[in-house]
């Protein structure tokens, strides 16, 4: 165990942990941020996605000791109490079913739109390809991303 300092959603946190612990467990269990979720622990499904240095990152396979930049979680993308345009689009399209994977969908979409503000359908499909949803809300997720891109996410 040792002290590790992380900047998450604009705040610094120091935690006494085994630094090799995947970031997901630190976020959920020590920082009580439950946006990122455990889905596979293998980096395959995307439910644990956070954004580190602008990159959608699978926190379940990211050793905490390797984190060098600020971490943004689902809780950190709204600003001044205003939902991020993607979150609003998710509500407008009534996207989630069970909702468990939607953290990964929204965070992956955010990284996509930050890089490609006006994605084509093909870019959306490709950009989201490895983020899984077992309720199969893909059709509405893609509609919500297009809706958010229109208003400028």
């Amino acid at each position: 165990m040792s002290n590790v300092t992380l900047k998450v959603n604009g705040k610094n946190h120091t935690v006494d942990i085994d630094p090799s612990t995947p970031l997901l467990y630190i976020l959920r269990n020590d920082l009580e941020l439950e946006g990122p979720r455990f889905g596979c622990g293998l980096g395959q499904c995307g439910a644990c996605t956070v954004i580190i240095g602008g990159v959608a990152t699978r926190s379940c396979i990211t050793p905490t000791s390797s984190v060098r930049s600020e971490v943004t979680t689902l809780e950190g993308i709204s600003q001044n109490g205003r939902l991020h345009p993607l979150q609003q689009a998710w509500i407008d399209e009534q996207v989630p079913a069970c909702g468990f994977c939607q953290n990964g969908q929204i965070m992956t979409a955010k990284a996509l739109l930050d890089k490609t503000p006006k994605p084509t359908d093909a870019q959306i499909r490709e950009g989201m390809a490895r983020t899984l949803c077992r309720c199969m809300t893909y059709f509405r997720i893609q509609a919500a991303i297009k809706r958010a891109a229109k208003v400028g996410a």
Binding site: L33, E75, Q87, W90, G99, R134, M136, Y138, Q142
Partner: protein, 771 residues
């Protein structure tokens, strides 16, 4: 807002220190200790168990159902708000926690709206009646001389006589008794509204659970944290049917955070202070296992060969209509085909999990179990605790569409919590979930059809075998995995079932036979079958609706016209007009698609991409569905893309059209995933599907470009005063696999008779047919 908990506490009905459910059904703040109980069942014969009116003129509804992510909570609120005459946004709904809501069984069987919606509507109507009576007394006018709108009662003759529900009863109890032999029959004396009177039913308020699911504030069962809580992980046998010989506890005892190794029979779990410590210890714990002397099952490659040769464990008498033998002997053409469907996993996006708190001699389990009441009973029996000392607090979780009907993790968390005397959070790992979750039963089918010289289907011989022996029950204390691993056995394994086609075709001669077969290993097996989103329908409809298509092709008939002929050959309708509604759905789907009538397959196109369209239709209970898939088949890779889906859907009265549309979209795509990708693979020792690579699922790249949904609700009886609500969810899962297979046939002339249609299988079929 006064919660019902606080309200009941104040009224002396229950004394507890724990707030299980807040305004929107999310868990409230967790107290350090859970009160000892007892926790009796809310009485469904008391109006106060269902509805609380608050002083601020809002209402909270308490229903004994859980929401599998399809917005049933929103629908319950709509139904009850409409009957109560209160604005939708002045209501909240609390669901599925055993000591807070009446036992309506949790979820399952797509019956939430169809069955449980009725007592909800009736009790809300009764509350309205009681409130109007109170207002009548207050104003000294007859109740029928009152108006009510948005929970405000006024006298028709004098609108200054005005009182709100909150003023009439806010914060106080109704003290009104209800009647009914069981919870489904619960009723007062008030009548429910007619369709014409609805104001909220049939509209589409947004789902109340969605904002918290997108802004990160939802309190999930997986996020429960309790003071003193420890983390548990299972150590599963490395081979199915393995026997535990020895555990070397010293291999993990020195690790930081070690709490305990818990073991009984073949069940093993490690318990640590921190989650990552428990995960790490699973890999390090040294356990000696003995392989079984006989193989627990054939390999997945040999599964269907094994099933066809196995002696059935049960075999019902075939249902015979007419004289099939005579019809076959005089047929102009006989068509025969066999179809196979493998085991398919529930594979929820998040693995099984639960947190159990054993404080003060009670046991509280925080769980996303769809059948929370069953878990309460099962855990009480399993632990030998009185029922009223066990309660389940239902919270949102990842849906597995039937997975949590047998919720292993809740039992495991409770068992370990009792052993270590501390709150325990149990969570399975991905490999464990994919390998050991409950499976949709594998099927093999053999069919024959007789056509006369005019292409009429004169006889249909249907034989199905399902690998469904010892199909899991609902949270039974002797069938959940931990109990089986500990050596507990039910008196006899569940018989399981093999289903028969659900269609309204008038075929004069039929023989319908089905049988159940067993794998060699019955208990402690990862190939345990459970209810996967209509447990049998997708498999059966894949085979039967593919075969109808084969018969249409053999009869040189358009597949839709062939079905319409079979549906219109009889004029006999049941009371719910299922035959007439089937005709309406098939026609509506064809119209919406712009179906061009012709014989399948289409003339072979040139180029790399072959396109085609296929239809299939089915029903479940009284909900009827016809679906059309349009596919592109890549000749070079074998890849199938379903570019368009059409669904014509009739579930009677629709509560929330927008939520229904999403349920239909998602249900079709779930079956599309099963059609294209899903198969549990195993060798003769263990399941080898352990992650998203080895049990793949549909992805964003597979999403159709267009989905059209037609809500049909074709009720042909003008004299009928009302349309009942039928279960909407699972029916859509049934015909889709056949629609895709039929479309692939239309595009390529190649008939795929085994699910899933992964690229390699499709390519091999195309090559062997020289496409």
């Amino acid at each position: 807002m006064t919660t019902r908990r606080k309200f009941l506490k104040q009224s002396g009905m229950l004394v507890v220190t724990f707030c299980a459910a807040g305004a929107a059904g999310a868990a409230g703040p967790l107290a350090a200790q859970v009160a000892a109980g007892p926790y009796p069942d809310p009485d469904f014969k008391k109006l106060d168990s269902w509805i609380v009116i608050h002083e601020n003129n809002t209402a909270t509804f308490y229903v004994g159902k859980t929401d599998c992510g399809q917005g049933t909570g929103t629908a319950f609120r709509q139904m009850m708000a409409d009957e109560l005459d209160i604005a939708y946004d002045k209501t909240t709904c609390v669901m599925g926690s055993t000591d807070v809501t009446v036992d309506q069984g949790g979820s399952g069987g797509s019956d939430a709206i169809q069955t449980d919606g009725w007592p909800m509507r009736r009790v809300a109507a009764e509350a309205r009646r009681v409130l109007l009576d109170m207002a009548a007394t207050r104003f000294s006018v007859p109740a029928d001389q009152l108006n009510v709108r948005d929970a405000v009662v006024t006298a028709k003759s004098d609108t200054t006589k005005r009182v709100t529900y909150g003023e009439l009863i806010g914060g106080k109890r109704f003290n009104v008794a209800l009647t009914g032999n069981n919870v489904d029959a619960t009723t007062g004396v008030a009548k429910v509204k007619t369709v014409q009177e609805f104001q909220i039913i049939g509209t589409s308020p947004q789902r109340y659970d969605i904002p918290a699911k997108v802004d990160g504030t939802m309190k999930w069962a997986t996020g429960v944290k309790l003071p003193g809580m420890v983390h548990a992980r299972n150590v599963k046998p490395p081979f199915a049917g393995a026997k535990l010989i020895r555990i070397d506890e010293a291999s993990v005892r020195f690790l930081p955070g070690f709490v305990r190794v818990v073991s009984k029979g073949n069940y093993v779990a490690v318990v640590f202070e921190r989650e990552e410590q428990a995960i790490g210890a699973v890999r390090l714990l040294k356990v000696d296992w003995e392989k079984p002397t006989t193989a627990p099952f054939p390999s997945s490659e040999d599964l269907h060969k094994y099933m066809r040769s196995a002696t059935p464990t049960s075999q019902g008498n075939p249902a015979v209509i007419g004289n099939p033998d005579t019809a076959f002997s005089s047929a102009a053409k006989v068509v025969e085909a066999e179809y196979d469907v493998p085991f398919q996993g529930h594979t929820a996006i998040g693995p099984a999990h639960a947190t159990a708190d054993p404080s003060n001699g009670q046991m509280t389990i925080y769980s996303n179990d769809m059948k929370s009441y069953g878990m309460r009973n099962g855990v009480a029996d399993f632990l030998g605790m009185p029922r009223d000392k066990v309660r389940v607090v239902w919270m949102e979780g990842p849906q597995g569409y039937g997975r949590t009907a047998a919720d292993d993790a809740g039992f495991e968390a409770a068992y370990i919590a009792k052993e270590v005397g501390r709150p325990v959070r149990m969570q399975w790992m991905r490999g464990e979930e994919t390998a050991w979750d409950t499976k949709g039963p594998a099927y093999t089918f053999k069919m024959r059809g007789a056509l006369d010289a005019q292409g009429n289907l004169t006889a249909f011989d249907y034989n199905a075998q399902a690998a469904d022996y010892n199909h899991l029950g609902y949270n039974e204390p002797n069938t959940v995995l931990i109990a089986q691993l500990m050596g507990t056995r039910p008196a006899r394994p569940a018989a399981g079932g093999a289903d028969r086609p659900s269609e309204m075709y008038a075929i004069p001669n039929r023989r319908t036979a089905s049988a159940v077969v067993s794998m060699p290993l019955i208990y402690e097996t990862p190939l345990r079958t459970g209810n996967l989103r209509d447990p049998n329908g997708p498999q059966v409809a894949f085979a039967s609706e593919s075969f109808i298509d084969e018969l249409a092709a053999a009869a040189k008939a358009d597949p839709v016209a062939f079905r319409m002929k079979l549906l219109t050959a009889s004029q006999t309708d049941d009371a719910q007009f299922k035959r007439a509604r089937s005709i309406a759905c098939v026609k509506a789907a064809a119209d919406a698609f712009g179906w061009d009538a012709r014989v399948s397959p289409r003339p072979r196109a040139s180029g790399n991409i072959l396109t085609g369209r296929g239809m299939a239709y089915s029903f479940r209970s009284q909900t009827v569905v016809a679906e059309i898939a349009e596919v592109e088949v890549n000749r070079t890779t074998g890849h199938v893309w379903v570019k368009r889906l059409v669904c014509a859907h009739d579930c009677g009265l629709v509560i929330n059209p927008e939520a229904l549309k999403r349920t239909i979209e998602n249900g079709m795509l779930h079956s599309l995933s099963r059609a294209l990708y899903e198969e549990v693979q195993f060798d003769t020792e263990k399941v080898t599907s352990v992650d998203w690579l080895t049990h793949p699922t549909l992805t964003h790249t597979d999403t159709p470009a267009k989905i059209d949904i037609v809500i049909v609700n074709g009720d042909p009886n003008p004299k009928r005063p009302d349309l009942p609500q039928y279960g909407a969810g699972e029916t859509v899962c049934k015909p889709l696999m056949a629609a895709v297979a039929n479309a692939i046939y239309d595009a390529t002339g190649v008939r795929l008779r085994r699910v899933p249609f992964r690229d390699a299988r499709v390519l091999a079929a195309l090559k062997s047919a020289a496409v």
